[in-house]
Symmetry: C2
Subunit: 224 residues, 2 copies
DNA sequence: GCGCACTTACCGATCGTTCAGTAAAACTAA
DNA sequence: TTAGTTTTACTGAACGATCGGTAAGTGCGC
């Protein structure tokens, strides 16, 4: 059918995440009105997906927000789903990166847990639109199901940490680890629904609040 | 364009909520193959909306899951959006009902808060598909925005309770009430994403866990 | 024979995607 | 320097499929 369509789009391969990166050699002339590059298109696409939902965002509407035509978008990406794939890769890559950092692999279980939760908040805030998109997936397509599976693996890793900390006696044992983890992530993931970067609540303060509420609860305690 | 679309669908008005209600009472005759009635269509529609997302659920697919034709669906409801309206009315009606119960209006602030949270968990579980649909709204249409506004009002009421309890000295004051409420609802609302009724975790146990984690946190406390 | 609960057949609009063509910049060779 | 070639970044029109919704007819129990 279409002879050239499938052929690999050059930049997609690496998991590098594409944040800036070596690309272009900078020689990008950029005289007059600069043309779009893929990261710019992706940013605007993800914002639109979050505003209207992925399914409800048509390529026409997306083109409108870019100020170009539908077909111009197809110059940069091979399909609508490709935009989704690139976005999800970025979000998942950042999240998975937390688990391989020293703070997440060395030390007492409860401190590792704290480190991972703090890291999750950090990624959520710094990659807010991308993680938002990830957290709203429904699993309609193979791509979405794969992303959900990777997210579930991340959850499982944290759940294991909770269990470890509980076995070590530093976390309460009267609520099971699975439920605990889910409530924990429910709390953290909800951040994408209401947090506005640049507002009065800083990223660090937010992370502190999350850790405080999660570990010590809302109640005023006698001892402390 | 479509002349009849707007005209009020008869049943939407009252807050009756329609939980089961007078109808059928389960004694649903069902001799041979019973024809569909509106509540049955609504149940299946809401399930489909939750499976695929509202936008991604076509009327054709919905008809397929009902085992009938698209037009048959239009015999029972006037539009796709009408299905959404009926579903959201049910979820919001139940949630708002909590706030007017005695347990939510009488007594100490922290006990009223506990009552409302427990009630929210109860409604979430008992009306799981309907509340799930509500919690996933994006606000693309007027209808969705209205529903989101009502949900926000509910959140505000709870936020006021948190503030009251904090002023009374029963809740910690080092995290502000707005953030607290949002984290609280993040935790509670996440239930729709993972809770399976009929599983090992009962509704009452779930509510207990939520209250425990929210008020006392995960940490093992010295004093108690 | 009449209303209820559908059915088949279809409408215009919109969807994601493709296509042929093109202006302008960038590179190449003389 | 300049003519020729290639690459980049697009435009506008169109495609088949599918969308939400409608019109008109059909079987069937009362």
């Amino acid at each position: 059918m279409n002879p050239s369509a499938e052929s690999g789009s050059p930049a997609t391969g690496g998991g590098s995440g594409g944040s800036g990166g070596a690309n272009g050699g900078g020689g990008n002339g950029r005289s007059g009105r600069a043309p779009y590059d893929l990261p710019a298109v992706l940013d605007i696409a993800v914002a639109a997906f979050n505003d209207y939902g992925y399914d409800a965002t048509s390529m026409g509407l997306l083109a409108e927000r870019l100020g170009t035509s539908k077909s111009a978008v197809y110059y940069h990406v091979s399909s609508k789903e490709d935009l989704l794939r690139l976005a999800l890769e970025r979000a998942l890559g950042e999240l998975e990166g937390i688990l391989s950092q020293p703070g997440a692999t060395e030390g007492a279980a409860d401190e590792r847990l704290r480190y991972v939760l703090r890291g999750a908040v950090k990624v959520l805030v710094e990659e807010l639109p991308y993680v938002t998109l990830l957290l709203r997936l429904r699993g309609n397509t193979e791509l979405e199901r794969d992303a959900l599976a990777r997210r579930r693996e991340f959850d499982n890793a944290v759940s294991a940490l909770v269990e470890e900390a509980r076995d070590a006696g530093t976390l309460r044992a009267d609520v099971d680890a699975r439920t605990t983890t889910r409530l924990l992530f429910g709390m953290i993931n909800s951040i994408v629904e209401w947090y506005k970067p640049g507002g009065p609540l800083t990223q660090d303060q937010l992370a502190d609040d999350v850790i405080t509420v999660a570990f010590d609860g809302l109640r005023v305690h006698d001892g402390r």
